[in-house]
Symmetry: D2
C-alpha cells in the first residue's frame, strides 16, 4: 500500500474543501489534486499544487493585461509555434508541485535535474519507514550486451525468485539493524535501556539503496517537459520511467495544448544529425545508401533506419 | 496614468470571476489580485498569480501529507527557525508572478537576478508605447561624494526643472524619430508611403533608457526575499527600491509569517564581521574602543556605530 | 576602433607573459588569448580565460584519475555519443570567460540567457564612453512582412543614409546632454562650477539603446553551445549573430572535437516533429504528399521542404 | 588507502608535466594540483583544475582590460568591500574543479547544492568498488537530545565496537550479494556460467548508503563559499564537514585575499536578528537584560550570549 490510512484521511479532508479564487482553475487537474497515484510497489506521485494553465503561456508570450477572449485554435497555434521555435520562457510561467515517494537509487538519478525546488524527508531528523523496492519478476533483467547502460532479457522465473529473495533478505536485515542502531521506539524511548542509540544521521548509512524516501518537488512547465523528455524516454531506467509516465498524464490534464505541442514537436519527433539529414536527402533522391558510405556509425544508422520505418 | 482604460476593463473583468479550487487560497492577496499598484510616473506592479501560503512552507519542511491541524504559534516558530538556520528550501515551495511596468534602465538592474522566470514585451515584434520616466524634482540629486555609487543632495529647484526639461525633450525627440523610422501607423500601414520603414528590431535602438518596458516576472519566495533584501535596501537605487517596497507589501499580504520572520531575522538585523564582533565584545566588557584600534575601516566603523545607536 | 591604444598596451603586456602550469593548455586558444576580435563598429569579444579542453569532457564522462593515454578517435567517438544522447553534464566541465563590448540593446537580448556569470561595467559608478552603434547601410532593412520578428529588404541607399544620420544625431545629442547632466570633467571636477551635476545613476537614463556597454561573461561549454545554437541561428538578430559567430570560431580553437560534434549533431541537423517525420516516411515510401494533407502548417511545410532539398 | 597505486601513477604522470600558459597561474595551488587529500577512511578530494585568482575578482569588478599594476592593499580593500556589500558577481569569475570520493549518504546531502556542475561515476554503466565508510569510534555518537538534528555524546568504547562490527558486516554482505547479482568477473565474463547476471542498474539497489561513490564537481568561487559557509559550519554533519574543511584549505591556497575576506566577514562573524540587535543596544546602554524580556527564544538567547562572550 502506498498510502497508509492515516495519511489517506488527511488527503480526503483536504480534498473535501474548496474555496473560491480569482486565479485560473483547471478542473481536470483539480479532480485528481492531492490523490496519490501508486507507482512501483510502495511509491506514488500526487499533485499538491499548481499555478497557471495553457492560457498563462499565451498571456506571458503576449505580456497581456488579462485573459482576453481568445479562440482556442489561435492559442494552440501560438503554443505550437513557441514549442517549434524553442521560445521556452512562456512555458516557465506555469508551475506544478508534486509529492513523490520513491526508492533512494531513483531519487539519486532524479535529483541530477537541478532546475527544480526540492524538500526531501530528512533522515537526519526523522526515522525512515520500513519500505523498500523489490522489482516484479517481469522487470528483473540481465545486463544489456549491445549497450553498456540498460537491460537485456528478462530473467528466468526461478532466477528472478532467487534475486528477489536475496534483495528482500538484505533490505530487511539492514533495516532491522538500523532500528537496533537507533534504539528508539515509536515514542522516542530507548528500546533497550541498557545501551545508547546511535544518532539518526549515522544510523541511516546502514540502509540499502532501495529504501523509499519522499520529497516535495516543484518545477516550472518548461523544465518539467525537459525532465520528461529524458526520463519518459525508452533509454531511461524503468524505475524512473514509470514516474515520468505518470507525470505525463498529469501534464495532459493540466495543460492539454502544451501537452499536445510537446508530444508532436518534441518527444514524438526525431532529431536528424547533419549526416543523417544527408542520408535522408539521398534516399529521397532515389539513391541507395549503405551504412558504410552514410557517414553514420552503426548504432546511429540502425536508429535512423528504425525511425524512418526501414528498420 | 499607469493603466490605460482599455486594460483596466480587462483587469476588472478578470477580477469579477471567482472559481472554486481545492488549492490553498490567501484572501488578503486575492483582494488585490490583478490590480495595478502605480509606481513612479507610469510604472506599476500587479500580482497576477501565486502558489502556496505560510502553510506550504511548513508542509514542505515536514514533507507532510496534508494541511493538518496546526497551531499558528507552532508554525511561526518553525518558520522563524528555518529563517535563522538558513534552511532555505521550504521557502522555495511558494511561487508568485508579477506583471511589472518599469523603465528600461531599472529593468537592466533587475534582470541581473537570474533565479526568476521572465517574459518581456518584445520590441522586436511590437512597438513600445510613448512613455518614459521623468524623475520628480525631489528625486533629482547630485552624485554622492562619500560613495561612488549613490546620490547626494537634492538639486536646487531651478536646476531640477532644467534637468527634467532636458530629459523630456530628448526622450520625446528620440521617440518621435523612432516612429519616423518605423513609418507605421496603428493599423500597420506606412505613415509615409513614399519610403520604407525600418525593422522594429533596428528602430528600437534610438529609444532612450528611461523608456518604459513591461514583463511578467515569476519567482519563488526564497529568491524573492533575497531580491528584496538587496533591492529594498537603502543602498539600492531609488527607482528600483520603490518596486521592491511595493512588493514587500504584497509579501506581507501573501505570507504574513514568512514576512515577519524575514523582517526580524534578515532585513531588520545586522551582520557583524569578525572584527566588528570583537568590537562589540570589547564594548560590552566596558572597554573604550577607538576606530584606530578597532580593526575596522572608517566606513565600516561608522556603519557599526550607527547600527549600535552610538552614531 | 574597438580598442583604444591605452588598453591595447595592457593587452600586449599580458600576452607577453607566460607561466608554466600543470593544467591542460590549449595552444590554439592561447594564440588569441586576450586579443580583441572586432565586431560591428565599436564592439569586440576577447577570450580572457578558459578551463579544460576536449579531454576534460572525456575525463568527466569517465570520472577518471588522469588524462590517460587515449586515442583521439575514441575520444571523438565518445564525444559524439554524448552529444547525440544528450548527456550534457560532461560538457559543463569546460569553462570559458569572455570580455565583450556590445550595444545595450544587444546586451538586453543576451542577458536573457541566465546560465552565465556576468559582471557589467556599471553606469552607476562610472561614466560610459561616447560610443554608439550605427548600422552599416547593408544591414539596414525594412520590417519583414512574412515574419513579425525579423528583417526584410535592405533599404535604398539614400534612405539608409537618412536613417544613419538620424541615429547618429540623436545618439550624439543624448550623449552630449548626458555629459551636461553629469557636469564632470575627466578628473571629476565640475565642468560648469555654477551648478550641480546629476548623479551618474540618474544621468544614464538619457542615453540611447545603441550606446555601447561592456561585460565579463563566463559560461560552461554546454550552456555556451546552447546559447550559440540559438544566437548563431538565422532567426537571430544580425547584431547578436555576429557575436555568436565569432564565439563559434573561438570554440573551434578551444575544443575542436566538441565543436565538430556540435556542428554535426546540433546546429547542422534538423529536428523533425512527429507529423514531419510522418511526411518523410510517406515520401520515402514513394507517396506524393501535399501540404494540405501533411498535417503541417504552411510555414513548417516550407521549412521542411527546404531542409530536405525539395524547396 | 584512498588512492590505489595504479591511479597514483596516473596522477604522478600528470603532475610531472608543465606547459606554459598566458593565463593566470597560482603557484600555491599548482603545488597540490591533482594530489589526493585523504578524508574519512577511503575518501578524498583533489583539485583537478581552476580558473582565475584574486586578481580575476578585481578585474571583473572593474571590467578592466588587463591585470594592471595594482597594489595588493588596494585589491584586498576592494575584495573586502565586495564581500561586505554582497556584490557577489565578481566572485563568480573564478572557477574550481574537484574530484571527490565520498560515501553515498554524504553525496546525497552535497548534491542539494544545485549551483555546481557534476559528473558522478555511474553505477548504471560501471561496477562500484568494494569500499564503504565505517566511522572511527570517536565519531560514533548518540542522538543529540537538545537538537533533533545532530549528535550528542560519543558512544562507550564497547558499544562503538559493536556498532562498527554491525555496519561492517552488513556492508560486506550487501556488497558480496551485489557481486553475486552482477555475476561478472573483472573481464566481464560470468562468474557462474550456469545463470544470468542482473543488470547493473538493478544490482546497485542492494548496496548500503555508506558505499563510496565519486564525482567531478565544478563550481564558481561565490557558490563555493556559500556551500562552505553551510557545510564547514558546526551544525553540519561531521562526515560532510571534513570535506568542507579540506576545501577551505584549498581556497586559502588559491585566492588568499578572498579567503581572508570570507573568514572575516562571513563565517567568522555573527548575524544579529532585529531583536538580538535590540538586546545588544540595551546591553551597551548599561541595561540588565533577561532572556524573558529580550524578545528572543531560549535557543537564540543562548547562542547570542555565547557569541558575545557572556555564555
Amino acid at each position: 500500500m502506498s498510502i497508509p490510512s492515516r495519511y489517506q484521511a488527511d488527503i480526503d479532508r483536504d480534498r473535501a474543501i474548496t474555496t473560491p479564487t480569482r486565479r485560473t482553475v483547471v478542473p481536470a487537474l483539480e479532480e485528481i489534486l492531492f490523490e496519490a497515484i501508486p507507482l512501483l510497489d510502495h511509491g506514488f506521485i500526487r499533485v499538491v499544487d499548481y499555478m497557471g494553465d495553457d492560457g498563462a503561456v499565451v498571456e506571458a508570450a503576449r505580456v497581456s493585461y488579462g485573459r482576453g477572449t481568445r479562440k482556442t485554435s489561435e492559442d494552440q497555434g501560438l503554443i505550437n509555434y513557441l514549442m517549434r521555435q524553442r521560445h521556452t520562457t512562456p512555458f516557465e510561467m506555469c508551475e506544478i508541485k508534486y509529492h513523490v515517494k520513491l526508492p533512494i537509487f531513483v531519487a539519486r538519478q532524479w535529483i541530477r535535474h537541478r532546475t527544480a525546488n526540492i524538500n526531501e524527508y530528512s533522515a537526519r531528523y526523522s526515522i525512515l519507514d520500513r519500505e523498500f523496492y523489490l522489482p516484479a519478476p517481469s522487470h528483473l533483467a540481465s545486463q544489456a550486451t549491445h549497450n553498456r547502460q540498460g537491460r537485456g532479457d528478462v530473467l528466468e522465473p526461478d532466477q528472478a525468485e532467487a534475486v528477489i529473495a536475496l534483495l528482500r533478505a538484505d533490505a530487511e536485515q539492514c533495516y532491522a539493524h538500523y532500528q537496533d542502531l537507533l534504539n528508539e521506539d515509536e515514542s522516542g524511548q530507548p528500546r533497550d535501556p541498557t545501551r545508547q542509540g546511535v544518532a539518526r544521521e549515522l544510523a541511516r548509512m546502514n540502509l540499502t539503496l532501495n529504501t523509499y524516501t519522499q520529497w516535495y518537488w516543484k518545477i516550472d512547465l518548461h523544465n518539467l517537459m525537459h525532465f520528461l523528455s529524458l526520463r519518459a524516454d525508452s533509454h531511461a531506467q524503468y524505475e524512473i520511467r514509470v514516474y515520468a509516465e505518470a507525470m505525463l498524464e498529469t501534464v495532459k490534464r493540466w495543460v492539454p495544448m502544451c501537452f499536445d505541442a510537446f508530444t508532436q514537436h518534441r518527444i514524438g519527433g526525431l532529431h536528424l544529425s547533419a549526416p543523417a539529414l544527408g542520408v535522408v536527402r539521398r534516399l529521397l533522391a532515389g539513391e541507395a545508401v549503405l551504412q558504410e558510405d552514410s557517414g553514420l556509425g552503426l548504432r546511429e544508422w540502425r536508429e535512423l533506419m528504425a525511425a524512418l520505418g526501414r528498420g
